[in-house]
Amino acid sequence: MPRVTVTVRDSASRTASASVAYTVLPPVLGGYYLSGGADPTADMAGGNFRSLTQYRSFADGYTFPGYQRPWLITLGRAGVQLNMVLELKHYGAPDTGPQTFTVDGVRYTVPAPAMTIQQRPGAVWPKAYGYGQVLAGQCDGLFARALSQYLTMGFGVNIQLASELDTDHEFGTTEAGKAYTWAESDARAVQAVTYIVNWFRAKGLPQGSTFSVGVGGFNRDCFRRTHPEALMTRLDYLQWNVYATSPSHTALERFRRTKDWAVADLGPVALSRPVLIAEWGVRVIEFPDQAAWIATVPPAIARLNAERGPLIARTNYFNSGWGTLSPKATGLAALRAAYARPPYG
């Protein structure tokens, strides 16, 4: 902690001194995600992009770095901090049946995913490996496969378990024919996430390996339920996502919302963890001048980090879905300008 000392001296060389210690926070890491998990290297070139989010399903045979994604290793070795979102959700292709595969000489058979999530009325409900399946050890092969690939990368990453538990559970879940409410699903997910983190932490992991649990952060009760202190002792980051989807949405208000809930509702262990914003974005329909909104983000983050509560450490712009930059070149220029300013520094 730096210290500044003031000395007052009179004509007889008598002196009085006083000093103040102050803190300069580490720079916030500006980050990115490109639609479809595509290679973001060209978009990030020449900008202060130091963080990246990626999404993988445990169901897929290629988790690290991912199918035909050698660029992820290049970026990681160049120091870009990776947030790997690993999901129990099955992305649906090519099939959702049981799998048999060999990892480092060990044969595993994993049953078909037995849970449905995101049960929005009228929508096709995605399949996912069930929290009961995880706790029964039926998914250990999936974790072993992911770990084996992770160890070939040569650097540590943050593993975010689930993308958004609130989105997954909002309309309840069903596993093996039994329906669970949102709150019940949250409680079961906490057990499953604890199991998975413990499973990985019991293995030898690369230096810098960290863990977090994924939430959109749009529901206060769900956020509280999914961040019990017992789980937070095993996690390294808080995480939520931030979107501007209404003309009234300001950057300060949107980044602040979940933080305020955290400060009010969570325990000291949770609040000691820095925050990883896995996704943030501004929707062009409501904000045709996306660049103007993006320019308000650095001072908003600086202000929030000057206040009480967990520090926002990384913010990854989601150039997809709600956050799609249009026109892309203008949006990217705005991101570059934002990440060149304090608190990104």
């Binding site: 003031v6 009179d10 004509s11 002196t15 009085a16 102050y22 600086a302």
Partner: protein, 89 residues
């Protein structure tokens, strides 16, 4: 002669890199005085010159700032009792 006094404060004390930081120093010395001496010359006939004033400082004070992180602090203002310095985090 009495010793000087000094008090330093920053608010806030936590900054993002690149932010402006302000340091406020309150200082003084019981012996420190700023005097104004006014001289008027008069002759035997009672003619008086215009008054001439000079300022004298008794026991002048100097304020210096050192930062163990190597940051440079520059003086923004100083009225003899309160000085404000600025640096970049």
């Amino acid at each position: 002669m009495a010793a000087p006094t000094a008090n330093a404060s920053m608010n806030p004390t936590t900054y993002s890199p690149g932010e402006q930081m302000l340091l406020t120093v309150n200082y003084g010395d019981p012996d420190h005085q700023r005097l104004t001496v006014t001289v008027t010359v008069a002759d035997a006939q009672g003619n008086r010159s215009a008054p001439v004033s000079v300022t004298a400082v008794i026991d002048p004070l100097t304020v210096t700032v050192a930062d163990d992180s190597g940051r440079t602090w520059s003086r923004v203002s100083d009225n003899g009792a309160v000085a404000v310095f600025r640096a970049v985090a």
